[in-house]
Structure formats: C-alpha cells, structure tokens
Amino acid sequence: MNQAVQIGLRLSVCGGMRRKCLGPWLAALGAIGAASESASAQTAFTLPAPPFELPMVPSVSGNWTVMVGVGGEYKPDFEGASRSMFSPVPIFSIRRAGSAEQFRGPRDSASIALVDFGDLRAGPAGKFVSSRKANDYSELNGLGDVKTAFELGGFVEYYPVDWFRTRVELREGVVGHHGTVADFSGDFIVPVIQRLTFSVGPRFTWESTQATSPYFGIDAMQAMASGLPVFNAKGGAHSYGAGAQVSYRINRQWEVHSYVEYERLLADAANSPLVTLRGSPNQTTVGVGASYSFDFRIR
C-alpha cells in the first residue's frame, strides 16, 4: 500500500495577499531546516495514534515524508493578459515514507495515484483556479469578477521508457465554472548527472464552452461596461505550448528547481477581444522554488 498515497500541490492560494504570505512560509521553512538539519533518515517528530480507524480506509499510522517549500512564479496577471507579475507559490506534498518522490511537471494538478503499475499510474486529480477580480487589473474593467473555480477529475500517466512521461488530466468544474478541461503533456526526463535532472516537453489543452466562456466571453452588459465588443467564446482547442524544468538535489532534504512554461492560446480563447485588444495569446510562466523534505511518524 506504500505506493498508494502521494499528494502534491503547487498552488497560489494567497490571492490578493500574495506578497504578505511569503514571509511566514520562509520562516516556517527555515525553522524546519534548522530543527532537523541532520535529520537524514530519522523521523523529525512522532504524533500519537489517531483515536479511531475507519473501515476500508487505510490506517494513517506509520512513517510519512513531507515536502514543504516555497517558490515564486512570474506569470501573466490573468489568462490572456499581456503583463505579468511575480507571486509566491507554496510547495507541499506528503507521501508514505518508503515511496520515493516521483517526477512532477509544473502544470500537474494535485493528484493521488490509486492505481500504480510503476509505468502506468492513475487516480483522482483536482485543481484550484483562483478568482479573477475585475478591480485588480485595468484591462478587466467592466467585465465583472470570475469566481474561484475548483476542478475535479482524474489523471493517467504512462512511462513507455524511464525517460519519457505522458500524462492526461480530465477535470470537470464543480465550483465556479462547470465546464470540462483536458490537459495533455509529454516530458522527456533527462538525468544530466545524478543530482541534476532536466525535462522538456509539449503541452496541449482542450476546454469546453462552459470552461472557456467565463474567462473569454463578453456579453452585452460586459460590452457596454468595458467598451469591448460582444464575443461568444466557444470551447475547443484552448492552447498548445511547451515546458521545461530543471531540478537539482542538494542533499536528501533539500532540492531547488526552476521551470518555464509557454502557452499559445488558440481558437476562441485567442480570438476574444480581451486578448486581441487588451492582452496577448502568448502566455509565459517562469518559476523557481526550493523544498525541504522530512519524515514524521504517526504511532
């Protein structure tokens, strides 16, 4: 059962408070690093046993590996924007100790592999999409807010060889929009030396009309308020692009990484007046981060 539980996220969860959130993360990271500098394979702390166990639910007792970290992303202000800004990104993952960290792409949603053949993995996946506030950016004046969305679905990834991963995520909006999103990616994973890994690969996203229109459609009211023409955004091919990532493992605990993701919006996402008149179809995200791993135990 060791392989079953692995959750990882890289989320921008602080919204408008982004800059203020970075301090506590750095402080926490530093504290953990200082407390268990020589942790190695030892557990950093032990928690008591849970008071009850549910039938059919795996026991949480045992050793766990937690990875915490902080990163930063320089990315478009909103999808379709021509300007970018830097925002902090918390890094967190937890897995059973004894299950090594697996390759993760920057665009991967949080996921759990409930089926794990080694080269073929599958399970549920979820993605948090932060709200888009019209007041935050002048380009959005008159368009109104787009609510926070949460998409739930599943993923399948397959390694035909050790150095190439293909991954598909299919998600449905359950909060916010109620559309469907499919992300396709491939990654060539090249270990340059033992500690240094470089990966690069293509990306493609398909979105349904319900997932596209809240962000790129402009109705009559919005047109009057914003000065943009009415636009009925339909779903379909949403974007293509490429991504690259480099990670360096300093030691068992510390890892640093950097990545760049380029997306070219397609079809109605690219043709929306919001993009053609006030934004850009070229979307580039650059990120850096550092993470620290430690073990803890639940009795």
Binding site: M1, N2, Q3, A4, V5, M17, S40, A41, L47, P48, A49, P50, P51, M56, V57, P58, S61, G62, N63, A97, G98, S99, A100, E101, Q102, F103, A113, L114, V115, D116, F117, G118, D119, L120, R121, Y158, Y159, V161, D162, W163, R165, I189, V190, P191, V192, I193, Q194, R195, T197, R249, I250, N251, R252, R299
Partner: protein, 253 residues
C-alpha cells in the same frame, strides 16, 4: 484573512483533540510490545536478485531476476535479528513456507489492498509453526520507486543508472518488517528499512550503496560473485539492527 484564522483555530483544536485522545485511550504499537515475551522470526527477502537498467536507458527497460538462494541471506537475516532481539525477547525457532511469503505482492490497485487487508496475516496463521507465540516478526521484500520515473525495484538488486554524462551502479537490499500479534494476528508494528546514513542523495528509499564496475555481476556465475555477496550482506547487517531499534524491538544502536 478571517477565514484563514478560523481555519487555523479549527485545525489546532482538531490536532489537539486527536493528540489528547490518542494519548489517553489507545494502546500504541510500543505499548502492545511490552506484553510480548516470546517471538518467532520469518524472513523471505533473499531468494532472488534483480538486475535493472534505469535512467537514460535507450529503449532498454529490462529487469531480470536470478536465484541467489544459495547465499543464505534469509538465514543470515534470522540470525542477525535473533542476536539483536535476544535479551528483550525470547526468540524461538519457527518453521515456515518461505516461498509462500516471498510470493506475496501488493496489488497495483490501492482499493484491492484495502479490501484484502495485510496479505501476510493469513500466512502467519497457516504457514508458520509453532503457533501460540506472543508475536511473529515477518521480514519481507520492500519496494521503492527509482530515478523519479515509473521504475520500481524491490528486495535484493543491482541497478545500472545511466545519466547524460555518466553512469553508476548501485546495489540495494529493500525490506520491511512487520510484527504480528500472536493471538489476534493483527499488525502491531510495520516499518521499511531506511536508507543508510552514507547513501548520499541516491533516490532509493531503503538500504543501498554505490558500487564500482568490479561488483558488476557475471550473470552466468552469480552465486560465485563473493564481492557482490559480501556487499549485499553488509547492507543487511548494517541496516537490520537500526531498523529493529527504530521499531522499539531491539536495544538502541
């Protein structure tokens, strides 16, 4: 921000409640072990050795397995564990069907593992004699991902890992230890052997060691490769006492 504070307060209350009730009402594995006097040891780790290529492998992803039963690693494990446990427990020899224990595999589907429970429980009840000891310590192969990709390795093995600029060889002895209650056959403790202190940044989650080309096995004559045999033995001898100690089974290292 008020939502964050409310959530943090709620989380703190939940953690405290779980901690307090966990301390007050429920016996931990450590406390259950205090009642154990007699134990039997089962080992089914070392009957096979795998040879894998990983990393930049071209299109060769092959893993081969070869018999190494003649090395007597399971007997060594039982002997080492007996030495470590004697004093605290009365270790009694047990007979068991080693191949039945070695044949057990986790299902790749997590739900199947949940439904069937611990696969070794029934074997301890039916394949080990004598019954009636206070506890049974079962040492079996553990599994680890390797190289960040989809590759998994288990038990005793030799990996050749290729990178763009170099390649290296690595041996591993991955095993996990379960302690079964001799009356209820529930798992009291379970732990996989951790990486050794000197294993650096190697991406394996159990005892392993980098080795040079001179350890590379001649497959056709594996049983006579004493250098490889010795290195694998060292991994087990160095990791077993500390793993038993971490499980509160043996004296502090």
């Amino acid at each position: 921000m008020s939502h964050s504070i409310a959530f943090a307060s709620f989380a703190t209350v939940v953690v405290l409640a779980v901690s307090v009730s966990g301390c007050a009402n429920f016996a931990t594995g450590e406390t259950k072990l205090q009642a154990v006097k007699t134990v039997g040891i089962v080992s089914a780790v070392g009957d096979q050795m795998s040879f894998a290529t990983a990393g930049l492998t071209g299109l060769n992803n092959s893993t081969q397995s070869f018999q190494i039963g003649s090395w007597g690693l399971d007997d060594l494990i039982v002997q080492q564990a007996t030495t470590a446990l004697n004093g605290r427990f009365q270790v009694q020899p047990v007979s068991y069907n080693r191949s039945a224990f070695a044949a057990i595999k986790d299902s790749p589907v997590a739900a199947v593992n949940l439904v069937r429970g611990d696969p070794f429980k029934k074997l301890v009840q039916t394949e080990v004699s004598p019954q009636g000891l206070d506890a049974y310590i079962v040492i079996t192969k553990a599994k680890s991902n390797f190289g960040g990709g989809g590759r998994k390795v288990e038990g005793i093995g030799f990996i050749t890992y290729g990178t763009l600029l170099s390649s290296h060889n690595q041996i591993h002895a991955l095993y996990e230890i379960r302690v079964f209650d001799g009356k209820t056959f529930e798992v009291i403790e379970k732990r996989a052997a951790a990486p050794l202190e000197n294993s650096g940044t190697m991406n394996l989650t159990g005892p392993s060691q980098l080795v040079d080309e001179t350890f590379a096995p001649n497959i056709g004559d594996l049983s006579r490769n004493e250098k490889l045999h010795g290195a694998i033995t060292d991994l087990i001898v160095h990791s077993l006492p500390s793993t038993l100690s971490d499980m509160h089974l043996a004296a502090v290292r």
